[in-house]
Amino acid sequence: MNLYNLKIAWRFLLRTKVFTIVNILGLALGFAGFVLASLYINHEQSYDSWNPNYKDIYLVGLTNQGKASDLTSVSLGPAIKAQLPEVVKIARVNSFPYEVPFNSDEDVFFIKRWIGADIAFAEMFGIKTPGIDLDSISGQTVFIKPDVAQKLFPDNSNIQDEWVIMGNKESGLPLQLSGITGPAPGLSNIEFECIGFVKELGANLSDDTNVQTFIQVEPGTNINDLTAHINYIFANSISKQTENINSSIAKSSIYLEPLKNLHLRPTHGSSTGYKIVIALGALSIIILLLAAINFANLMLVLAQKRTKEIGMKKIFGVTRAKLIIQFFSEVFIQCFIAACIAVFFVSITTNILVKNFQYDLSVFGFNESILFQLLIAVILTSVVSGLYPAFILSQSESITIIKGRHQNSPRTQYFRNLLLVFQFVIAFGFISVMIVIHKQMNFIETADRGFNADQVVYIKNLATLNKAADFTTFRNRMKAIPGIESVTVATTVPGGHSPNAYDFQYIDRMFKFDHIGVDFEYFETMGMKLLTGRTFSLEFPADTQNAAVLNETAVKELGLKNPIGAIIHGCNTDFKVIGVVKDSKTLGFEELINPTIYSINNSCQIPKVEILTKISSGNIQTSLAMLASQWRSINKIDGDHFIYEFVNQKYATLYAKQEQLQRAFTGFTILIILVALMGLFNMAAYSISVRQKEVGIRKVLGASSQEILLLLNKPFLRIVCLSILISTPIAWWLANRWLQDFAYRIDIQWWFFALGAILSLLIAFITVSIQAVKAAYLNPVDVLHEE
């Protein structure tokens, strides 16, 4: 009996080959999108989730007038632990912000992330130190990750007490290693290549040093109460530190950041990661829904072609239950095939992403939970697509079915149109939002940044070059190389770590300005525009003492019409303003520009290590090559390795995540459009086949082929127009929400939507016309043969 059913099902499939293939492919695309999105989401949410105390660990953060920071005073942690019994553990960590080469006899490893922490940190974050008992250490220790050890000491598995040279191989500082950390139990927010444990992080640091402070609380602790208690402690500790109640720190307060938010939406950082996860989650469900709806729609439509078979079977006495089971199993098999094809699609896509776009392969780790989720999706789709048609068809009276009376009732037609509208609302929404995203990213890449980083190169360096006099020789050596136009050094580089903010006093008011220590030729190298006054110049040697340049925002905050000559006090220095430069978006487009003060005098004590140089175009590769060959003799302290980066590239890392969002979004938009188009294709094909007789009659009555083409397209174009109307306000709202993330953004123009509308109508027209053309040019005689 089942073989008989199988034969019918198979031959039916052959008869409706095109429909079925398009349908299964559409569903496979839906499944593939779902799986890819799930893989990404699972990966992003798994950071530190393996930690047994995942729910009870918090980062202590500082917030002041809407700005948040993840750094707190090093003395705060112990104060919390001492006074609050519900805090089980505290651990502090800080990081060395520069890249250090570790040299062994065999090789060199560039340590990009070197952190120092309390020993409590190891237990809190599951960092193991096999062979070494941390409680027994005294003084400083240095542990490196297994891959670092592998590179530096390939023949040695026990590197305890081995030595490396930091910095320059000949003249650098020796450092003794304490051991290797165990392999990481999973993805973690805590990333490092080298970690130094000390018993007490604060022991050798002054009280106002800022570190990251983590606390682990008793399960079930009320976080709001705890935050209030900690703020009380914090307020007390401030009043001990400074009498100035106007300083910014006095106006700050503490908040507690749960560990699970740290990777995707830290308060002190960007919530883009979280938004991507939410968006992808919604997307994957939507795509799956669309594909399932298409599938169901077509099943319904195709099943009507089998009315004779159903009617006959009922006359032969087949029970309704059996019919339902038969349909359901056919649908299930098709869904299953689609799922297998989806798995195939996914593995191809991940291979492409890993090979061509350097995506991390671990993101796409296939494991049981993904396959389980896919299976659920298959079952759900089968239920949705299979049960409804099965019920509808099996219930009708046999004779009416055979006579083919009940299909094309206005109600089912209405339902089908509704489903198409839903699909196109979503597809059009995506197209519009994609256009907005594209325009915003374009804006970021091409808008005036306030500085010009074309041909500006940033050279990695650890030698502190704070004194302008010392740097002059450096600069002259570099400028001797043809092509080097200007050379300078500063405390920060755009795209690197951001400048620190300090309290500055003007007359009797306090302000918080970012401070960037620079050298001569800074503004020329960075292409920053001078608005009034002058920038630092060798003609005025006193510039190295206390001259300062402000940016526009700083001047606005001071409220001065003419700031030249004003005296601003901060970092123990009386700075005299000599000029004002145009604002530059060195922090990217998501943050508002901070008020900034530039000076050569480096009393704010961040070392000037970032060497910047502008090279004339046409000479870049040769100049760089010459620089590389002479670097060792130019930079005597840290000249072993000449490593450079173009400032444009470095700056681009600021919006790397947004670019990732753009790419993912474009990919999914294409997917959704494809799924919607497949649905349209099938519906159009069916509709055209049903209207063949009508087309013949109209042609006999004088309709031209073009008029027929338009006639067949009209109902579908109407659906697309309706979808566009519904979708536009929703898309507008969503795009606006996303744009709010950017301090500097485009305005949404109406023509974005017009463009999307024209595109959608065009694609729909082409999809329908591919089949309509055949019908339109048919000879009516062929259709109207006499019965």
């Binding site: 007789k693 009508e694 013949g696 009659i697 109209r698 006999v700 009555l701 004088g702 309709a703 031209s704 008029e707 000879n779 009516p780 005689v781 109207l784 006499e786 019965e787």
Partner: protein, 221 residues
């Protein structure tokens, strides 16, 4: 008005030609009422389609109002066809989704008539055939005879000079068939519409002025 000379039509089956029409010659004057008779498969419908410019012969000439229409471009041909020909089918071929009035209106739309004009013509037709009360009904709400009347009204809406009818009473009972044939006779005598009908029935053929017999694609003299 209509001159057919040496008309041949065949289909290729395998390597051979299966002839539907073999060396057909005929000539029809304006205002005639001609019946084409013959058994099934004799090529009657094909001949009618060729006369009505719905199909092309493989060989031969066709001159309509002294114009060689086979030599004309597709567009010009369809212009002539739209202006002068009206078609009535055995199976009525009404559009099921349109009302009676809309069905009658359809050919006028393709003649680019303005909306007001169309409505006037349709009203006229409804009145003339006595079906005003049925104008908003759908074909599946009418009897066979009524549907055929709508079909004829539709064919006449454009005021064609030639009415081509392919077994117009084939699906009707004898009473309905008589009514239709009376209508044809009236149209031909009072309004001078040239009528060419294909029919099986001798009774119906007698309504016309001339009978042309077709057997196996050839005209029997």
């Amino acid at each position: 008005m209509i001159e057919l000379n040496n008309i041949f039509k065949w289909y290729n089956v395998g390597g051979n030609r299966a002839f539907v029409l073999k060396d057909v010659n005929m000539s029809i004057k304006e205002g005639e009422f001609v019946s084409i008779m013959g058994p099934s498969g004799s090529g009657k419908s094909t001949l009618l389609h060729i006369i009505g410019l719905l199909d092309e012969p493989n060989e031969g000439t066709y001159s309509f109002q002294n114009e060689d229409v086979l030599k004309l471009k597709e567009k010009k041909r369809s212009e002539i066809y739209k202006q002068y020909m009206g078609f009535v089918f055995q199976a009525y071929h009404l559009i099921d989704e349109l009302t009676v009035a809309e069905n009658i209106e359809t050919p006028l739309i393709y003649k680019n008539m303005k909306s007001g004009e169309r409505k006037a013509v349709v009203a006229d037709m409804l009145d003339r055939f006595g079906i005003v009360g049925k104008k908003d009904l759908f074909p599946n709400q009418l009897s066979g005879g009524q549907q055929q009347i709508v079909g004829i009204a539709r064919a006449l809406a454009g005021k064609p000079k030639v009415l081509l009818a392919d077994e117009p009473t084939g699906n009707l009972n004898s009473k309905q068939g008589d009514e239709i044939m009376q209508l044809f006779k009236k149209l031909n005598e009072e309004e001078g519409v040239t009528i060419i009908q294909v029919t099986h029935s001798e009774k119906n053929a007698a309504y016309g002025g001339r009978i042309i017999e077709l057997l196996d694609g050839q005209i029997q003299i």
